[in-house]
Symmetry: D2
Subunit: 487 residues, 4 copies
């Protein structure tokens, strides 16, 4: 059976070794680590929801490589409708976890790019990458593995090309060619969910020139292959989970809310030929990277629109809790947030609808619409975070912690002085504030205080309005004189 | 001597009691607490720099209330030049600490508002608030105390006025009138630096109607008065300081970088009449609040322009470290950041220059220019944070910690794979990334990943440019036909 | 045959009377009037291109009402693909004329709304509007008439509802009910292309309450029905065509560039019952208006994206003519213009792709995506106009006229001093500037001078960059100190 | 007496010859030409208001070159307060005419730059330009002449320097050096108000390299010197004045509303040495240009803020006329317009306040604040034009003409169907619409129709709000689940 349960996925992870360092310590049981488990829970949803009728049409698909249904994250988009479904799937899925399923989502983008490009390489060079790739993909589908896509190299000096760097390992490359395969060295940085994937699909990160052909490589590798080392993220929001005494009320999105990126080091890792999908074909590096990036940008827009949905929901609740539901300036902001997100989502759907077939049969979305949608998606999240800060108010800077809340000496004060309108639970107000804090990126103090210090922006607009009203008579008088109006 | 040293200020704090709860625990030695000490260090600079020739003209001023020079933060602005100097002072001072000196700065705004309004109340009602106030202010100047201004009430239901709230304590109010003074109850929320001030000057937070006259109160109170309780902030960036194993490399701005806000509860606190500066004169509440807010918004613009200066400095360093100094799109972004901040600063200087005298002799900046400048200042910090995220790149999500750095097993990997261009120290690259993370509000994961996932915005713009170039021929052809151009 | 040629359309117009006033004069031969003919030329393209293989798939469609192919502008959208094709058709067609085909395009939106709503009214009230409507539509298809949609009433006081206005004729309404039909009075304002349509389809402009049921009417009427009076537009760009001595070089888009809106007065016009499609069913007014508006907003996005394509083409030419093709700040602006327009277009395609069937079988696009796309489309045209002004430079204010050009005494000066780079024809530079002026709305002097006076915005950014570089050292120093960087 | 009356200024113009071509015709009596007279009326205000007590402090100043008071437009800024007054003067003056006084305003900026730079040149080279310049300036002051500043060359290929152009006359340069002076050839393009100035002060337009030293020239020349030829502007709004039958109701700002720019050709014009203020000192060209541009940008901000005041007044009237005074979305837009304009004005005042002395004694405003203010000023006018279009509505595209209004057959229809709320004169509504059309740059049809077609933006926001409300329940549910809220 090609669809695993969430439990089988997690059990599978327990059976795999990882060399991982978290906050400066080597961790053996990474599956239950408080900074990793939430990521696993998100990814587990991609397995669990495959059995949920509401998600079935989006998450399950027949394969042309193996028998029976497989998880859509392991498939190639073969029509405009497939592309549209991909965007919709993420729009539906992200509000379920509010975090990241990079261990599958980025993987699908890499799968798609590799599927198309291997076909094109073979056409030009008579290689058999595409067959190898399809065989590998069939294995992934049959075992229903979580595949992470890996692209971003560590790069060092951005003004130099891979082969010009002082340290040749600044970009992942082949250090030894063997009869049975290649040995690679280097690192992929900021890899979302790589730690909790079962397999990695690795692509080059930028255009490679002929001189740098050792850097033009693509391959797959099981996650527990020796020589792979993870150094794990520790953003402010996540390290809170390591703090003694911190509790689930402090995490905003306690069950899922960790991104889960790591620096992934390839310390002379061996890759057998059957898992190598590009080697030295520098002239195809641009295609592979651009196809990957375009697909990832398309998918991104669905994910971020889903993210904005949660933020909108949280902001509407926060506003209800303090009795501001009817304020017109609040609705101005909510509508702007919605406009920001719909614009990106709609344009991504449009890009998918205008997608076209490549020679391999894989479909690509329209290039300029995809990029336009992604630019807007990033802007939406950033601008909406600022608007959420404006709506959420000063409490976002001073949300009490679970330990404060559980301390009998001060709980009554918190309950009394952080309450909203009558009948609303102060605890819920705290919880929704933490969620907003999480969704806007644990963004506290400086931007929040800048937006809110001296009163939120609306109060300055009110004063401008007061002055404008005072000057209105004079302004209108001047307009009348110039327009020739006499009365 | 009316100017204390930084050491005297800190020693003074040690001699004062505080009832304060931090992260759920009652703290006795708050002065040395890792989440409080940085705030004290910032405020200490306002004492220390008074003896620094570079700052002297801005920080020291002769008083008309006491003999000899006093700290400018304890003075009333008596001219347009005073207003201009205030903005300039903060523009100079903020880059020294990168945090907040609310314990003095907000206080000055409250002092200014109370000075003017008490004069006006007396004129109408024949009271003697202004004399009381000047006497108190002279005492502050002579002792060179740090005075925090307190305005924001806890509020509960925002659609109701103070006297309409279910819990009458939702706004600070008088619960008992005694022969020798009044007893107040309520709370002031999100009070920047209140914990490390020597004295609090408390004002109402909004317009009070006659029915709510018990809420129309202004008074001063020594910080160690019984009944005052602080529940301290715990934003993500600050709690990192409580994390076992975290080191100074993890804090971005280790020495100063804590905002230091608290919920300040007044649990039936007694205020003697000589410290009461408004009581039941509801018709002057609007004036007092608006004057405070206007002054605070003016000062804000100097502070935030200084903040933007540091962020610009940090971004320019980050870019240098990775060899991108010559990229034109980076300079586009830096110039936009600079434009954002200069616009707010310049408009604040303009507001100060067009300031006017009130009957008391205190000067107020132009109202609409002040509000226009503040709106832009908030926008500058928010938009610049997003641009800094764009410039800083994915590393902002995965900066290794000091514990990672000090772990012998992985240090070499970090050094190798997070390095920038040749000759640059990886440690410095980590440090500047942490500073940017701090300056943009510990904003990690969601906005950063949204802006950067699938490549930074510039990469999407590049793709748009590619498509635009492809379509240019057709577009130009259409334009020629319509314009009647034949060639 | 259901497809007329352009010549047949124009001949048809000649056979119809119109009561029309242009620039204060009653005009008999409106077909050849210099302010009307260009509009006819645009609309004629919708006939001509139906025979052009490139446009055939988009402009010709089989009807389910009559035999053989009909013009798509007279059809109902019966699938998601129909909706997508509509957006694409306008994206292709607008660059052919650069003006407006309102006499057909707005009509199709009205047709679509009336088709769906009449079906729904009948379902509720047992009326036979839908049958009437289909019969009328079949006639239009068979005769291949240009149908303009009419919606916007004259309105008077916007704070009052139709039935509350002082003058009851402020909204079009029924003044007499006869056995054979109704008599209507009122006016529809700003009607794009109405003068050159063969038939008008008239709908209400907003939600009607039961008290105003006389205003809840929809009907069709041949354009030469007695009692219909047009008062024609005279925007600055169009009146130039009336100027003695003005020539085609002065019009920017000489052949097509007139919008062609008029105030259309219904002076007690009789409508027979078979052309009445709603009468007094006030509860369906909202549906009819919203369906019309949504369709029109969707189509708008295709049209405006086509418009932006021409503007981009013109700007690229203008820049080539003066040797600025390689300036990176120019490309920044062009890419922003392109992003603005692609975002709206893509989102409209997305709205079409997520369209859904109504009970009548007519498809409607997604509501929030359509509105998001339209908001962005308006912003695109406005912001792109400003960017075009910035790119086009001061010449946009001082373009010489054809009469200047043809004056032998000064032609050599114009040729010499308005020339661009070597080898470029000065006449072409003048022509492309006029086209840009036309495309940005004959926007001269004030915005142009504001954007360009004292040098274009780029020159100010250059100065900011100079200052920023000067201060960079100090800014970086502060960042280093705060980050703990020692070197 | 050094202050002329408006009549004396106009009489003076009548006594001077001009070679000028307007709309392709040579014009002898340019003073009374309908496209020129309004410009003269604006400039005449700078004479008239010098005798008006309200303007006296701003328009009249004692000179250190001649006895008695002189017009401020002929003076050098010798203090921060002078700079502040300059900005304020234009903020006050522009609402008096709503057009341009370039014949004096640009002149003052050129005077200021030449005053400072001639001083600096003399210091380095021992020349006596400064003395010459002061003598000339004293003459201007004594005669109270209108001096236009001339900077922008015709340029041709923007990628080449002056000396590299195919046609050496593309930049103004010296073609002959004589004993008594120099002969210059070339042209200055887009010269605001040059035609109605008494004297021109000519500066280089950009940095000149040593190889191009013949282009490094500055000089003054009386306006009626032989060899100077004007080719006059003809933007759409202005040519309307040439239209037979057009009346003052059609011009928006009938008395003053013409910008008045011309292409000014120097056809081998002789300049005596005493009027030459720079010749071949290429190394000072940058200073002279940058000082001119900076001063002009500063002054610009006052002018444009005054312009925005009128537009705000006109928009408020337009809204009153149709009963929309209480709509909150209208006030949102008005406040945004006001914010845009105050921000530029305030920042300009700030730049003036932080001005500094040059060696000559002339003061320069802060460089980065000036440029930041100007960038915002251009943005304000452009963005406010778009908002005005949104507020003004469809009528802006279809305003009836005076001839329509005066035609007895249709006047009653216009009166009836373009009326606003009860009691408002339709004529006044037409007049204020024309003023808005003028103020936003005769911007009709395309941007207006794009912003308003399918309903103004607010209607799309309303639909987004409707959808958002429909989805609110689901969005809030997701937020609750993630935040751990159970209820």
């Amino acid at each position: 059976m090609a669809l695993r349960t969430a439990e089988e996925y997690i059990k599978g992870l327990r059976n795999q070794n990882r060399e991982v360092y978290i906050h400066g310590e080597k961790v053996t049981n990474y599956v239950d680590h408080p900074c990793v488990r939430p990521v696993i829970e998100s990814v587990a949803l991609t397995f669990e929801k495959a059995f949920d009728p509401e998600f079935e049409n989006w998450l399950v698909k027949d394969s042309d490589l193996v028998k029976g249904p497989v998880n859509r994250f392991l498939t190639v988009h073969k029509s405009q409708d497939d592309l549209v479904s991909r965007v919709q799937l993420l729009k539906m899925l992200t509000p379920q976890h509010g975090a990241c399923v990079g261990a599958r989502c980025v993987g699908q983008d890499a799968i798609h790019a590799a599927y198309i490009t291997t076909y094109d390489i073979d056409k030009k060079y008579g290689t058999n990458y595409h067959e190898r790739f399809c065989k590998w993909l069939a294995e992934m589908q049959e075992k229903d593995l979580a595949v992470s896509g890996m692209v971003t190299d560590s790069k060092a000096d951005r003004s130099l090309r891979p082969e010009e760097q002082e340290d040749p390992d600044s970009y992942l490359h082949v250090v030894q060619e063997r009869k049975d395969g290649i040995v690679v060295r280097g690192a992929k940085a900021h890899q979302s969910g790589a730690l909790v994937a079962d397999e990695h699909l690795v692509l080059p990160t930028e255009t490679i020139r002929p001189e740098g052909k050792q850097y033009a490589i693509a391959f797959a590798v099981p996650a527990d292959t020796p020589g792979i080392i993870h150094i794990y993220e520790s953003p402010a929001g996540t390290v809170r989970r390591l703090l003694p005494g911190a509790g689930e009320m402090d995490f905003g999105n306690a069950t899922y809310g960790v991104h889960g990126a790591s620096l992934v080091i390839f310390n002379d890792v061996f890759i057998p030929w059957e898992r190598v999908f590009m080697y030295q074909e520098a002239d195809f590096s641009t295609e592979m990277v651009e196809y990957f990036a375009r697909m990832h940008r398309l998918a991104f827009c669905g994910c971020k629109a889903g993210h904005c949905d949660i933020l909108l929901g949280a902001c509407m609740l926060a506003v209800e809790y303090i009795g501001l539901t009817k304020a017109s300036h609040i609705w101005e902001k909510l509508v702007t947030m919605f406009q920001n997100s719909e614009l990106s989502y709609g344009c991504a759907i449009g890009a998918a609808r205008l997608g076209y077939a490549t020679p391999s049969g894989g479909y690509m979305p329209d290039v300029s619409l995809t990029n336009a949608a992604k630019l807007q998606g990033g802007r939406a999240v950033a601008e909406n975070a600022n608007l959420a800060m404006d709506i959420g108010g000063g409490l976002l800077c001073t949300i009490p912690t679970q330990k404060d809340w559980e301390n009998g000496e001060i709980r009554e004060y918190i309950n009394k002085y952080f309450r909203g309108k009558a009948g609303i639970s102060t605890e819920n107000r705290i919880r929704i504030s933490r969620l907003i804090e999480y969704l806007m990126g644990q963004s506290s103090v400086i931007p929040a205080e800048s937006i809110l210090g001296g009163g939120p922006p609306e109060t300055q607009r009110v004063m401008l309005r007061v002055t404008l009203r005072q000057r209105a008579g004079w302004m209108k008088e001047r307009a009348k004189v110039l327009a020739g109006i006499k009365e």
